[in-house]
Every structure is written in C-alpha cells, then in structure tokens.
C-alpha cells in the first residue's frame, strides 16, 4: 500500500516535466516552489526568477489543470467501475454499463451540432449522461424480476439507443467542421481542460467519491449476494441507488471534461484486486490511486508519443486491452 501511495505524487511531479513545450525540470521545480517560498515572510528563502513567463504559463495554466483532470478522471472512473463490479457481482462491468457514456456522448454531439460553446457542450454531456442512467433505472423498474440483471439489460437498451442517436448526429453533421469535432470529442482528450472546467466538476467528484469511500466496507456484502446482504441487515435497494447515483455523477463528470474514455474503469479495479485483494475497504483507496496513476501515464503518452496529440480513448484501449489479457492469464485473478 505504501508503494501505491508514494507512486501517485511521484508520477504527478514527473508528468509536469513532459510536454510539447520544453521546460527544463529545474525550471519546473522552481516554478512550482516559487509561490510557496513567496509566502514565507521576511524573504528567508528566495528563488531567482530565471524562467520565462511562457514557461510559467505552460506549467500553471496548461499542465497543472490537465494533470489534475487526469487524476480526477482516472481515480473517478476506477472507483466507479470497482463499485459497479461489486453492485452487479460481475468483474466484467465498467462504469458506463448503465448507458452514461452513450448518453453523455450524445449530449456533447448534439451540442456541437447546434454550435453551442464549450461550457454548454460540457453541461449538455453531463445532463444527457444523467438522463440516460435515469431512463435505464426507470426502465428496469417496469420489470419485476432479478433487479441487477434487468438493470444491466436496460443499460444495454439505453446505450444502444443513444449510440444510434450519436450516429444520427454524425450523419447530419457538416463533414468539414462539425463531424471531426464530434469524432474527436468522442475519442476523449484532456488537452483543453482549464481551471473553470475543473471547478465545475470537482464538487461532484469529491462528494460522490467521498460517499463511496464511506460505505465501501458494505459494498463487500452486496458483492456476495443481495439476499445475504439483506439478511445481514442492509437495505440493498437503497444502497444500490446510492452506488448508482454516485458512480453516475463521477462518470458523467469525467466524460464531460475528458470525453469518452473506456477501459480504465474495467482494468484498474482488477489491478487493484491483484495488489490488495477483493476487500473493498482496501480496494477502493487502491483503485483511486492506481486509476489516477494509470491516467497520468496514459495522458503523458498521449502528449509525448507523436507530434500531434493521440486521443485518450484510443490509448486507454491500446494499452488497456493487452494489459487486461495479460491479467487474465495470471492465476491470481481469482474469479476464473
């Protein structure tokens, strides 16, 4: 655990060094330290301002918000995926199982089609993501059989519907301007994240993640079985609603600042289980940290591998899929 905890700050600092605009590591550290030393009264410690304003701008206005976003998105998607895997008692579930990603994707595509501004695109994505999960949940209430199974099926139905709507939007979109914009948005990127975007989603992230962390031991009981959890005194229906609400808020927030990023919420919980076991008291914190690290590394690769940015959704799958295949070949996974 100590190893995982120390990993995140290390990767975070290192990630500040990387990028198209070259800033020497020494300057990066100086730029980071300057505001802190400036606070110290009496000019006890002084750092000479040897860097350019452009460098400071790159670090504070571009890289820092971007890295914070990567941490939020990676940690959020991982914890939401882990919680869903427990709720649905299924290790192959990812956070967009109830249609949140497709809904949000359509919201964004529609907003781009209607030439709304960036903030409105995010709001639209967020709202449609929530709407899709709400429809899924209400749909599952119609049928009175095994609740979790019908919830997954409803999720598939709703996701298929919104995916079709995304295709329709793309079909009618202007192929020279709007179609590429929609396509790139759907592939996911953190390139344009600014502080204002972060401010919008951070409250949702913190509250929802906080609630999941607080009830994390009880997710164990849901993961074993609904009947048994109820016989052990847990209101499984209420708890299911809480988990769905929290995970949806997290995923919708992640999608609206970063676009659709798959695989993180599926792979990271498994990695966590391999390292700390299936007990959610240890698994959820581990997922938070591992997810954040994974996303930081993926985002570094997205910036560094080629001259142009590679969309994140592509990289998470290209890195995630073989990694997942490797995980499955290990015996310690436990559920095969």
């Amino acid at each position: 655990m100590v190893f995982i905890y120390s990993l995140l700050p290390l990767i975070f600092i290192c990630s500040l060094f990387f990028g198209r605009y070259e800033v020497s590591p020494q300057h990066v550290l100086q730029i980071l330290a300057a505001p802190v030393t400036d606070l110290v009264p009496g000019n006890l410690i002084q750092i000479e301002h040897t860097w350019t304003a452009a460098e400071e701008n790159v670090i504070y206005q571009i890289r820092l918000p971007r890295l914070v976003a990567a941490v939020l998105v990676g940690a959020g998607l991982s914890i939401a995926g882990a919680a869903y895997q427990g709720l649905f008692k299924n290790p192959l579930v990812s956070p967009d199982i109830l249609g949140v990603a497709s809904g949000a994707g359509f919201g964004a595509a529609l907003a781009i089609l209607l030439s709304w501004n960036m903030a409105m695109i995010q709001v639209s994505a967020f709202c449609f993501g929530i709407l899709a999960v709400t429809i899924t949940y209400l749909l599952s209430r119609f049928y009175r059989t095994t609740p979790t199974l019908i919830l997954v099926l409803s999720g598939i139905i709703v996701a298929a519907f919104f995916t079709a709507l995304i295709s329709l939007t793309k079909y009618v979109a202007d192929p020279y301007e709007k179609l590429p914009a929609i396509t790139f948005w759907l592939m996911g990127s953190l390139a344009s994240v600014r502080y204002s975007d972060l401010l919008m989603v951070i409250p949702f992230f913190l509250i929802a993640t906080g609630i999941l962390l607080l009830i994390r031991w009880r997710i164990n009981l849901l993961a074993v079985g609904d009947d048994e959890a109820r016989a052990l005194g847990i209101d499984t229906k209420r708890m299911g609603q809480v988990i769905i609400l929290c995970s949806t808020l997290i995923t919708a927030s992640a999608v609206c600042i970063a676009g659709i990023i798959g695989w993180v919420g599926l792979v990271v919980p498994h990695l966590g289980r391999m390292l700390v076991g299936p007990d959610y008291t240890r698994l959820l914190p581990a997922c938070l940290l591992l997810g954040a690290c994974y996303m930081l590394i993926i985002d570094d690769l997205a910036r560094m591998l080629t001259n142009a940015e590679i969309p994140l959704g592509i990289l998470t799958a290209i890195v995630g899929a073989p990694f997942f295949a490797y995980l499955l070949s290990r015996k310690s996974v436990g559920w095969i």
């Binding site: 427990g86 008692k89 299924n90 290790p91 607080l214 009830i215 994390r216 031991w217 009880r218 164990n220 009981l221 993961a223 074993v224 079985g225 009947d227 048994e228 959890a229 109820r230 016989a231 052990l232 005194g233 847990i234 209101d235 289980r273 076991g277 299936p278 007990d279 008291t281 436990g334 559920w335």
Partner: protein
Amino acid sequence: MILDVNQAGFRYDSVRMIFSGISFSLGEQEVLCILGPNGIGKSTLIRCLANLYPLCAGSIRLHDRDIRSLNYRDVARVIGYVPQAHEITFPFSVREFVLMGRAPHLGLFASPGKEDRTKADEAIGLVGIQKITDKPVNEISGGEYQLAMIARALAQEPEVLLLDEPTSHLDFGNQIRVLEIIDRLARDGLSVIMSSHFPDHAFLTSNNVAIMQHGSFMAYGLAEEVVTETNLKATYGVDVSITYSHDVERHVCVPHRSGQCRCRDPKQPEYSPKMAAMVPAMR
C-alpha cells in the same frame, strides 16, 4: 417464544400460492426441521422467515413484534440466515467473509474494528475452520463453505439460526459434522430452523419436525410422531422403514428394498453369472 408464525401465506405472482395457512412457534434452544419434496416451498418459507420476502397473508412475530414493522437491521440482529451454497464472484478470504456477519452491529459508514474481528474469529473457532481463514471462499470445499456461512451467521450473534438445506451438496461425513455443530449451537442457546432432504437427520437433531406438502404443513410435532412410514410415503412416494436401532440408540429411517433397485442380498452368495445374464433382460 422468539418466533411466532400465524397463518402465513406467500405467492410470487397472482396465480399460484406457494404456501398458506402455516402456523408454528419456536422457543429458545428449539430445533425445528422442515422436510418436504423438492420445489414445495421450503426455501421460500425460510426466506420469508428471514424477512427477505414479505408475506402475502398471516404474520410473523419476532419477540412479539410484527416482522413488517422492523427494518432489515433489527431483524438481522435476531435472525441469522444461512442460504444454500452459491457461487461467489470475488475471492474474499474466509475471514473477510465471516466478518461480514458483523454488519447489523455496525453503523452505516463504519467498517469492522478490533472487537468485530475478535468476534468473527470466535465464530470461526465455533465451527472449527481456523485452518482455512486465509483461503479464498471460492477455493474451499463445499463442506468448508457451508461451515463458513454458518460462522458468518454466528458472527451476527443472532438468537435464531435459519438454515436452508445445510446438508445438501455435502459428503456423508460433512453432513454429520454440520448436524453435530448445529446441535451443539442449539444446546448452547440458539434456536434453529433448518430445512432438509434427509428424514433421518430429523432424528439426529430436532425437537420438532414439520413436513411440508401441498403448500402447507401436513404434519408438525415431535420427530418420532411426525417422521412415520405413512407420512413419508405420502410425502415422497417411497416406502421407508422407521425402526428403533439398539446399535445406535435412536430411531432410524431407511428406504425399503423396493422392486426398482437390485440390492445385493448379504445372505445370498456373491453375484452369480445367472444374475448377470438376467441384467440385459431387465433393462
């Protein structure tokens, strides 16, 4: 009386009643064994008693309070439920699994503390599975898993233990070991309701036996009065013999040597070629 069941009835849909008109009560340290054919509703009854399904008719009273007025947590502090074995997706260790039994005693945001761990370890000791506490629950044997589930219910510190066919899927030795543990728990103060497929087991542990047939209790009372040749013939449609065995000093229940099974007769010489020749003809 801890548990009072009065004219209980239940149905999943509006078409068919699973059971109706079931009444009985359970006192301290009493063991009630429910017998009955497959699919007759034994498991459903036990789920209703565990407050997992609400009754459609009648009432269940727990310490003189209607079970419907209690929330899941209140019920879980009195009733421990041991379901039939089913597969678990995630490889929780036996200790983590048993620790889950502490849930009704913990606050919504709490996770188990030192005291809870001690109680879980005590429960593990009561059923004697200390050796496998660190093994994942999906890698232990069926008998060990059954014991782990009983340990989890004991960690709940309940007054009543509901066991849904605790001896199915177990080998002969494990069946008896589980029954011995159940009997010991009852002697130490727990009340037990269990369903079973083995009428003989009723003589081993129970005070009272109920036979479930056609959606109701067809017979209910002391084991010697209820587990009779007539009742078992009516329930399972096979001939059995109930005799008092002086060797084991209890009643035993054994199936007849009927026309369908070619039992070997110990008085006759070993399997003869003539018999072997008859075998294809019998098919």
